[in-house]
């Protein structure tokens, strides 16, 4: 340790004690408390940050102002100057502490940038499309290249919407949830409550981990092949026709459930493991059988975590594009039937509108629809995340009430 040999009062002081105490001394109160010497006034960092912003803006303006250089200059100036000031005015330990605190905040800001940027760009481009009347309730039936051409060249309103894609996403995701939640829940109950660390449970854990890493397109191809095989075995359809016939909403749901099951198993397993063993024992000691203990004590105690985990898993798969494209295809009309005909999901809709605009030469209306659909998708995912938090709160074991 290469510290100053005699500890100054400031070096003994806790990190949180300084700001409030140092306020009066900076206002010129004559008698300084021995506890507050060697501390910086609490307003200093705001002043320094302000100074760094001005300096950063000036430096950036020299190079032709842009946001990136402005941010970089400001951050570097602030981090370095606050280190130097603390180092000279207080001591090295506080300076190092402050340096790392600043770096952590900086890393947080940088991590936040893509998120804010994505939301901002999607919202700013997508809102006009979203505000178009009928966007949420109409599908793309009857929207031809001529319609879009009229919109772009003659200023006619952009027609067409995402109703069919919303319904498709909703049905496919619901079906995927209905398939994967029972499987995932039962698998994790087996792992936590019944497995005794034997080869089977270790194999399940291993393969669940492997499944987590399966590329989503592989899941889509698997589901398509499985459904084609299933149809050829049970309805005798073979050849090229099977691929045609196996392109269904339910095939996409199977593909998504392949992606969802490992997530559900993992989160549910975690939640079941944190249920205190005392509760299980309390239930056994009352003469309750194991399956009833699991059903009535363990699951209700863990239900908030399980429900929010499932919601997050849904949020994770609702944005999948490739597996749905290869399994459910793409249509322009609304299809309510998972077991008959092709189906469009929201991400596939976005992909198609960008990749193959309805009118190849006049793509603006298609892009407007795609951005608006992307905004809707982000809003759905955000809503699901909020919903997960709400569930976690509502179902959480009752704590208060003393």
């Amino acid at each position: 340790m290469t510290q100053t040999p005699t500890p100054t009062p400031a070096s003994v002081q806790g990190p949180s004690g300084a700001p409030g105490l140092s306020e009066p001394t900076s206002n010129g109160v004559p008698r300084r408390s021995s506890l507050t010497q060697n501390t910086l006034p609490s307003w200093l960092w705001i002043v320094m940050l302000g100074g760094s912003v001005i300096l950063g803006a000036a430096l950036s303006a020299l190079l032709g102002f842009n946001l990136a250089t402005f941010f970089i200059f400001t951050a570097v100036i602030y981090v370095i100057s606050s280190y130097i000031v603390t180092r000279t005015r207080v001591n090295r330990r506080r300076a190092t502490d402050g340096l790392w605190t600043n770096l952590v905040y900086l890393a947080f800001l940088i991590a936040l940038m893509p998120l804010v940027s994505v939301i901002w760009s999607v919202a700013s481009v997508g809102i006009p499309g979203l505000m178009t009347p009928g966007f949420m309730v109409s599908d793309m039936q009857g929207i031809t290249g001529l319609v879009d051409q009229a919109s772009q060249t003659e200023g006619a309103p952009v027609l067409g919407g995402i109703a069919h894609a919303l319904i498709g996403s909703l049905l496919i995701t619901l079906a995927a949830t209905a398939i994967s939640v029972p499987i995932g829940l039962l698998a994790s109950i087996y792992l936590v409550e019944y497995a005794k660390g034997g080869p089977l449970s270790r194999a399940i854990t291993f393969f669940v981990d492997v499944m987590t890493g399966i590329p989503s397109i592989v899941a889509g191809l698997f589901a398509g092949a499985a459904m084609a095989w299933f149809l050829s075995v049970f309805s005798g359809v073979t050849g090229l026709l099977t691929t045609q016939r196996s392109t269904l909403g339910i095939t996409a749901a199977i593909a998504l459930s392949v992606l969802m099951v490992p997530v559900v198993v993992r989160t549910t397993e975690e939640m079941l493991r944190v249920v205190p063993n005392e509760l299980r024992e309390a239930s056994y000691a009352l003469g309750v059988r194991k399956w009833r203990t699991i059903l009535k004590v363990v699951l209700p105690t863990a239900i908030s975590g399980i429900a929010s985990g499932v919601t997050l898993a849904i949020a994770r798969v609702i944005g999948e594009t490739a597996p749905i494209l290869v399994t459910a295809g793409f249509v322009v009309n609304t299809n309510w039937n998972l077991f008959q005909g092709w189906m469009t999901a929201l991400p596939v809709y976005i992909f198609r509108q960008f990749q193959n605009p309805t009118s190849p030469n006049f793509s603006d209306p298609s892009e407007q629809r795609a951005w608006a659909a992307a905004l809707v998708l982000i809003l759905i995912v955000m809503g699901l995340n909020l919903f997960a938090r709400l569930i976690a709160k509502l179902f959480a074991p009752k704590q208060a009430g003393r």
Partner: protein, 259 residues
Amino acid sequence: MSKRVDVIDLNVYYGDFLAVEGINMSIDAQAVTAFIGPSGCGKTTFLRSLNRMHEVLPGARVKGQLLLDGEDIYDPGVDPVTVRTQVGMVFQRPNPFPTMTIRENVLAGYKLNGARLSKSESEEIVETSLRSANLWNEVKDRLDRPGSGLSGGQQQRLCIARTIAVKPDVILMDEPCSALDPISTLAIEDLIGELQQDYTVIIVTHNMQQAARVSQKTAFFNIAGTGKPGKLIEYSDTTAIFNTPQEKSTEDYVSGRFG
């Protein structure tokens, strides 16, 4: 309502490890029996084997006979769940079910087993159980509040109420007061004195004054060293254990010269 317990040549294992060896004792009905001894000597392990809670742990097993009014609970044909409905247990740390209200906690033994109770029946069970647990007056106005909102001592009495609600014959208590303050401890000790009229009560305690206060008979367990099995050293009337112990190690332990 209350049954006697006879233990014959009982060995308790964790996997291959022999934790408690060669227990022979007879526990009286309608009396309080205390188990004392240093930590790790197998008191709790033995207590948990009395209602087949021991075998819930992976690898745990028991050899020997344990007679509940003459019927061996370790007979191969016996369902452990049946045993546990007759031998209730109160744990060291209060563990009311966090998802349930006070009322539901008392009725847990019925509700979790799917029993259907009429409203008047359940009202009666809740009131008599909470009254016997000396908790009725404190909670009668908030039966629909969560059980986890009670204080530690109240939670423990709620757990006792939950245990006696299913009308067991024997009640096992594993250091029921070790997580509680002296006032709550006093409340539980008074309660144990009352429970004794209807039930066989077996209590593990580290507090020798408590053993002396509440029990009629006391069993002293000891262990020869780490890794050795725990054994029953002396079992006699509580006054005899504390005043005229026959074994040297018992005398050392109760007089505080050891352990």
